[in-house]
């Protein structure tokens, strides 16, 4: 296969390889480590394929790259090719998120290596389906395809929580599912309404139609609200976070790590701010307020949690608040910071979940009070944990700092000083609960549990996961420009729409399976 062919089908491959892995796992018998090994292999292959994207991504080229646009389901009675298109492609916003999803797949498999003991076949095949659904959300440029992957991403997660929940999995799974499924009903109605008005599900065409004002403003406002509501629940944004803590404390490590936040945040950026620039400008003050409240609220609740899964749940709520702030600041730097933050949060949280999983599988409890002085027995775990925590609280040189700095400085300069100061102050609280957590678990006098239970430090496969993540945290912190370069030059979001409007028609949609990127490569 020549490079050109690969460029044209790479996204399809990234979507199909995990699915093929899932089917293979489902067919083969559930014996020993067979399912896990196939899952690992599939995940590594997928990750390898995602690395093709940054390697051949043309920075600065407008529009979507690696684009595929083929008719899928024709909804017009006379065969006029209107309806659902298999339309995928990436730009700077989604590039690193796809790579991150690819990276977290082998991490997730290795984190489950010893943790999942029964019905491994079901677990790993669902995990692979989850992979496809996540990548699908990031690459879809057709609203129905996007919606399909968006809904599909719920299913494996919910089933796995129900099957492998720590205490009451079924309850947590139901809550998770209902919380995220019900808001997607208005989302679907809004998509159908937009389709009725414009006869297209194509993202770029819709962007154009929305911007040119063929749809009544009131209807657009309601549509944008329906979109935002679905996304805000999924993130979650402050008052809608009812499902988060329970899901985090019930879900197996691998799943909690891959789904956290990214889907909703990305969707906000692409499909809310990107599709409804005017309406999101109107809603931005509300979102900024909610984001800052979320940061404060998350930090305060994280301080008082007794269970470390719940602590991390509220900590992430705070971090998603920072990202939301960046998105609804509606300026370029804030947006870059938000995307960078999503990616670096993915890496940090990946490592953090693995580490907490390590502790939980060894000591079989997630109560912080039971721990204490563990560092003496688990020195390597402690080292990695400290690095990760420092990245999480935003220590300069590590990756957490860059995104937060961009978001906060842009909020300060171009949105509102008050909110920026409020957000910055509360981020200090973040440092408190994280460092206090480190102190309570790893240092201080040895607790009875730590003294009585003799456990092993990190095993090889765990180091194999954590070391690259730690290196990545450092590299992303020291050389953020490499990542930001691609994000910055990305196409089509809110602030840029005005300038881009003239450029949009040139690369609209009804072109069948042509990709400017691949032609440029030739």
């Amino acid at each position: 296969m020549s490079m050109n062919d690969l460029n044209e089908s790479i996204l399809t491959l990234i979507l199909l390889v995990p699915l093929a892995g899932a089917i293979l796992i489902a067919i083969l018998p559930d014996r020993g480590k067979l399912s896990a090994s196939i899952a690992l292999l599939t995940a590594l292959v997928t990750f390898g394929l995602t690395l093709h994207l940054p390697a051949h991504f043309l920075v600065g080229q407008p529009g979507y790259q690696f684009e595929i646009n083929k008719p899928w389901i024709d909804l017009s009675p006379n065969g006029a090719h209107i309806g659902i298109f298999y339309h995928v492609g990436i730009d700077g916003l989604s590039l690193w998120l796809v790579v991150l999803t690819g990276l977290l797949a082998p991490v997730g498999v290795l984190a489950s290596w010893n943790a999942i003991k029964e019905r491994k076949k079901v677990f790993y095949s669902l995990f692979m389906v989850q992979q496809t659904a996540m990548v699908g959300v990031f690459v879809s440029l057709d609203l129905m395809v996007y919606y399909g992957f968006w809904e599909l991403s719920l299913v494996p997660m919910a089933i796995i929580i129900a099957m492998y929940g720590r205490k009451d999995g079924a309850h947590a799974a139901g809550r998770f599912f209902l919380f995220t499924f019900i808001p997607s009903a208005p989302l679907l109605v809004a998509i159908l309404y937009l389709y009725r008005e414009t006869h297209t599900f194509n993202f770029e065409q819709l962007q154009y139609n929305v911007a040119t004002g063929v749809i009544p403003a009131t209807a657009l406002f309601w549509c944008s609200l329906a979109f935002l509501f679905a996304f805000a629940v999924k993130v979650p944004v402050f008052p809608l976070h009812g499902w988060l803590a329970e899901t985090f404390s019930e879900a197996p490590v691998a799943l909690a790590m891959v789904v956290a936040g990214k889907l909703g945040l990305y969707s906000m950026l692409r499909f809310h701010v990107g599709l409804f620039p005017v309406q999101s400008r109107a809603l931005a003050p509300v979102m900024i307020a909610l984001a800052v409240i979320g940061i404060l609220y998350g930090a305060c609740l994280a301080l008082v949690q007794r269970d470390f899964w719940r602590l991390i749940a509220f900590a992430t709520l705070g971090h998603f608040g920072v990202t939301t702030l960046g998105i609804y600041g509606l300026n370029l730097i804030g947006r870059d910071g938000a995307v960078f933050l999503m990616v670096s949060q993915g890496v940090i949280e990946g490592a953090l979940f693995v580490l907490l999983g390590v502790l939980e599988t060894r000591y079989e409890t997630s109560q912080i009070a039971s721990y204490g002085g563990v560092a003496a027995r688990l020195p390597r775990t402690a080292t990695f944990f400290v690095i990760t925590s420092l990245a999480m609280v935003g220590l300069p040189v590590l990756n957490g700092f860059v995104g937060e700095f961009l978001v906060l400085s842009s909020t300060f300069t171009s949105v509102s000083r008050g909110w920026a100061i409020a957000a910055t102050v509360t981020i200090i609280l973040g440092a408190c609960y994280m460092l206090w957590l480190v102190q309570r678990i790893f240092y201080g006098p040895k607790s009875d549990m730590a003294a009585s239970q003799l456990v092993d430090d990190l095993r090889f496969h765990e180091i194999a996961v954590l070391a690259p993540l730690a290196v990545l945290m450092l590299v992303m912190g020291v050389a953020p420009t490499y990542w930001l370069r691609a994000i910055e030059k990305s196409s089509s979001t809110a602030g840029l729409l005005q300038q881009r409007r003239s450029a949009t028609p040139a690369q609209n949609s009804n072109r069948i399976s042509a990709s400017t990127a691949s032609e440029a490569h030739r």
């Binding site: 079924a170 139901g174 063929v214 028609p505």
Partner: protein, 501 residues
């Protein structure tokens, strides 16, 4: 009448012959011999009926037997659907029906005769033939519903179904009589021609209302749904697989004919009526299902809700509404027959696992059955890439197109509520088994060839309708265009379909 008329009812003839053949073979087999192979005969016969339905596509669209029956892509669509459902029902029964003392001969014969009625119902264009077809199908299903006569609920189910069902048929007949009174004919096209300038508007509205009652009862739409949970609970699961889909498909086909073809001018009457019934069915069905502990009762209420989703398509204009309703019926049939197949396998002919909590740990006890149960439930919830989603999508987009945005919102919120009870069962199946439950202390049966084929077929159909529904959509649209719908004025948006300049 000539020979080519017979070709117009070829599937019905084949099914009748099959039924008679099954009964004859049953009578001539010595007692004590296995009668399982009667199922094979019935399955082959139904297979031929299925093939002959597809073959009928080659016939020119038209009527036969003095304009009483019609062959068109519309009738073929529903014939194929009904034959497929009956075929799967036969396959399930072959592996699960107990061998002795269960009158297997009559069972398969009744399935075949029921199919005759349902098929005839979709192709009839004369209201009296409609009535006869409905009776053929109903009487067979009344008997089948009470097949577990050794249990308490079996006869109860049959009697309830029979009494309420005949009452509803009475309504339909009264409606037909009023139609005849108002227009002087019972041929659907002639009625349609005579309705617009008919002075007897009140009588026509009354006729429409009465006919609607009869038909809505058969599709178990609220408020005519009360029989459904009791009947589903008492009837054997393979029969419920059939009962919850095939007769409904046939009656929905009739409803489409009556609404769009016979009385399109009364749209101002049946439009709001069906809007209300759709909203009510979804809401009542889903809210009641939330409180059920019994799996079959829960699925009964879910089928009431699905009747509501389907009726939402009637808010769509002309062909788009008809196509959406037809497609939804196919998608619903695939997943509902599928889930009853799994229920039949997991809990047996005798319903050994009646309650939702008895399904706990199914995926641990049998990964295959557990996964399939969850799969069909996911499709019933309406998750993309399954038939259930695309059916809902298509039905509600027809509704939104027809201007019923409120109905679409009610419907989609309802499907959110519905996910709660579907997932209760799905998550029960996903949880670790409850060792203290004595009811689950039996080994699940191996999946046999016949029932395996049924599972493969339903899973395949559900995925096919969800991932590549293109061909089925074309078939539904072709079917929709053969109904003689007078041109109405669908709101064509002013936006050009071309990409912007």
């Amino acid at each position: 009448m000539n020979a080519s008329d017979s070709l117009r009812i070829l599937p019905e003839i084949i099914l009748t012959v099959t039924g008679v053949l099954v009964m004859l073979i049953d009578a001539s087999l010595p007692t004590g011999w296995s009668r399982r192979n009667l199922g094979v005969v019935a399955a082959i016969g139904t297979g031929f009926a299925y093939a002959s339905s597809i073959w009928q596509l080659g016939l020119p669209t038209g009527t036969g037997f003095f304009r009483t029956v019609e062959t068109s892509p519309f009738t073929v669509f529903f014939h194929v659907l009904i034959c497929a459902i009956v075929l799967v029902a036969i396959l399930i029964s072959m592996d699960t029906l107990p061998e002795n003392g269960h009158h297997q001969g009559e069972y398969y014969a009744l399935l075949a005769f029921g199919a005759v009625g349902m098929c005839l119902l979709t192709s009839a264009v004369e209201l009296l033939v409609v009535f006869i077809a409905l009776e053929i199908s109903s009487i067979s299903t009344y008997i089948l519903a009470g097949y577990r006569k050794h249990t308490g609920q079996g006869p109860e189910a049959a009697i309830k179904y029979f009494l309420l069902g005949s009452f509803a048929t009475g309504f339909l007949l009264y409606g037909i009589a009023l139609i005849f009174g108002a227009t002087g004919t019972t041929q659907i096209y002639e009625v349609a021609a005579r309705v617009p300038d008919n002075p007897n508007h009140t009588m026509l509205v009354a006729a429409l209302a009465l006919m609607m009652v009869g038909m809505l009862f058969k599709v178990s739409a609220a408020p005519f749904h009360v029989w459904t949970p009791d009947v589903y609970e008492g009837a054997p699961s393979p029969v419920v697989a059939l009962l919850s889909t095939a007769p409904k498909a046939a009656v929905f086909a009739l409803l489409l004919r009556v609404a769009y073809e016979m009385l399109p001018t009364l749209r101002s009457v049946w439009g709001p009526l069906l809007w209300g019934v759709a909203a009510l069915s979804m809401t009542v069905g889903n809210l009641a299902a939330l409180r059920q502990e019994n799996v079959k009762r829960m699925l009964a209420y879910s089928s009431i809700a699905h009747a509501g989703y389907l009726l939402a398509a009637f808010a769509g204009f002309g062909p788009s509404g008809i196509a959406a309703a037809s497609f939804y019926m196919a998608a619903y049939a695939a997943m509902n027959v599928g889930i009853f197949t799994v229920v039949t396998l997991a809990s047996g002919y005798d319903d050994r696992l009646p309650l939702i909590r008895d399904y706990r740990g199914l995926i641990y006890r049998s990964p295959l059955l557990g996964s399939l149960l969850i799969f069909f439930l996911i499709s019933l919830v309406g998750i993309p890439f399954t038939g259930g989603f695309f059916g809902k999508f298509y039905s509600f987009s027809a509704a939104v197109d027809g201007g019923a945005v409120t109905l679409a919102i009610i419907g989609l919120l309802n499907s959110g509520v519905a996910s709660a009870y579907y997932l209760r069962l799905a998550f029960a199946a996903a949880q670790r088994p409850d060792e203290s439950n004595v009811r689950t202390a039996f080994a699940l049966p191996q999946v046999g060839i016949a029932v395996g084929a049924a599972l493969l077929f339903t899973v395949g159909a559900t995925l096919w309708l969800g991932i590549v529904p293109g061909r089925a959509l074309r078939a539904a649209e072709t079917a929709a265009h053969t109904l003689r719908v007078p041109p109405s004025a669908p709101a064509t948006p002013e936006i050009s379909l071309q990409p912007h300049p």
